[in-house]
Amino acid sequence: MRTAQARGVALPEDFVRLVEKAHEMYLYAAQPDHILPMFNDCGTQPTDPAPYLRGAAQMFPRADFLWGASHGQPALGPVQGKGPRPITPRTRGPRPATM
């Protein structure tokens, strides 16, 4: 997507949405220690999805992607389920985007 954007190439909206959804998986599947669960052939080392979410946050300006990319900063986590519901806020901060 970055390559296409740099060259002024418009990508189909459904493709863009699919890329965004794929990165939601990195966010929602992460354990509380921000490591992805190791299922099937997940590689020989635990995977930290933060670099992928940093890339996603450049393309999709979403507070929850930034939250995952920074291992939990700011203090509000992603919204789970229906409605904009902050999960265990410890300190007040900006409300993340609704998904």
Partner: protein, 343 residues
């Protein structure tokens, strides 16, 4: 499933998906569980693609948190349609007080000895496995602090109820093995990056013992007649291994029962925060093909749980009525009924 985001969270990841196009394992209905700051039930993963007994183990059902029947595991490898689709019904409900998931394995069981893989004619399609998990979140989860949402003040952690229903087209007794892989302890900087940890095993309780860390009490609902064993680092056949950072011994806990089907294998997974040692007791109230029900009692917890299969109709057990898919009646600190509607 999770109660919050951040390092103090509790988390369960469940797999009810298709077998996939590549890198597949025979592991539908498996899960991993994280609480108390560490992984408690893990997936052994895989370390190499060498044609060894351990590589075979890592791909087979024995190496996942699933149920094997008569020594046979899942057999989706013989079913081309399983690459992109799966059979059975999936259910998912997420609420502030609980999460609920259910899925089915309907794609047959077959022997899977190393190095042979058998053929499609050996697949028994008559055995069916349905798994449901209810996550009872900590009291106060999902609430703003002003509403009592500070989980550190909760008298109890959340806990999980796991219900396995096995059915068959025959009336013969079958040997059921319900397998759980206790996650090894990470040792950053040590010569061995993982160690198996300590576990005490009896038919009524399987409890990990790691001072200063989070632990797990695994509580079978029906301990009578249950053969429980913990194995690590065994070969020929391979049992008790973990394939992260290398190939290391780790505990496989197997709860085994021989019984005609339908049969239920239900268990409460109760996480213990660092320093905690007390866990509740579980009492069976009802178990048949349509309904499973039991009571969980301990310090600060007195819950009655009922799970109904489709068509069971309104069911009342010990004064609690389930008119949908599941209900949990919580009596402490005050009466609260959590209901999973029929989907």
């Amino acid at each position: 499933m999770r109660d919050q985001w951040g390092p103090d969270g509790q988390f369960l990841f469940f797999d009810g998906a298709a077998w996939g196009a590549s890198h597949q394992h025979e592991d539908k209905l498996t899960f991993t569980l994280y609480a108390g700051g560490r992984l408690l039930i893990g997936d052994p993963n895989i370390y190499s693609y060498s044609p060894t007994e351990l590589t075979h183990y890592f791909k087979a059902s024995r190496s996942h948190n699933v149920v094997m029947v008569d020594g046979r595991g899942q057999a989706r490898r013989f079913r081309p349609e399983s690459h992109l689709s799966t059979l059975g019904r999936n259910e998912w409900v997420s609420q502030p007080e609980f999460d609920f998931v259910s899925s089915e394995y309907l794609e047959g069981f077959a022997a899977d000895p190393f190095p042979g893989r058998g053929d499609a004619s050996e697949v028994d399609m008559g055995i069916r496995h349905r798994r449901a998990i209810l996550y009872v979140k900590p009291i106060g989860a999902g609430l703003e602090p002003a509403q009592g949402g500070d989980r550190k003040g909760s008298p109890l952690p959340g806990y999980w109820i796991l219900c396995d229903l096995l059915t068959s087209q025959d009336a013969e007794p079958h040997t059921l093995e319900q397998i759980f892989h206790l996650a090894p302890i990470e040792q950053p900087g040590a010569a061995e990056p993982l160690r198996p940890g300590e576990v005490a095993v009896s038919p009524a309780t399987i409890v990990t013992h790691e001072p200063g860390l989070g632990n797990l009490a695994l509580l079978p609902v029906d301990p009578t007649g249950l053969d429980v064993r913990a194995q690590k680092g065994e070969t020929s056949p391979a049992v008790g291994w973990y394939g992260v950072y290398g190939e290391f011994p780790a505990w496989d806990v197997t709860l085994q029962r021989r019984t005609p089907l339908p049969a239920r294998l239900d268990a409460v997974h109760f996480p213990l925060r660092p320093g905690e040692t007390a866990y509740p007791t579980v009492t069976r109230l009802r178990a048949d093909a349509q309904v499973t029900a039991f009571r969980i009692q301990g310090a600060g917890v007195d819950d009655t749980f009922i799970l109904c299969e489709e068509g069971a109709g309104p069911v009342t057990v010990a004064g609690v009525t389930c008119a949908g898919r599941a209900v949990l009646a919580r009596r402490q600190p005050k009466l609260q009924v959590l209901t999973v509607e029929a989907l």
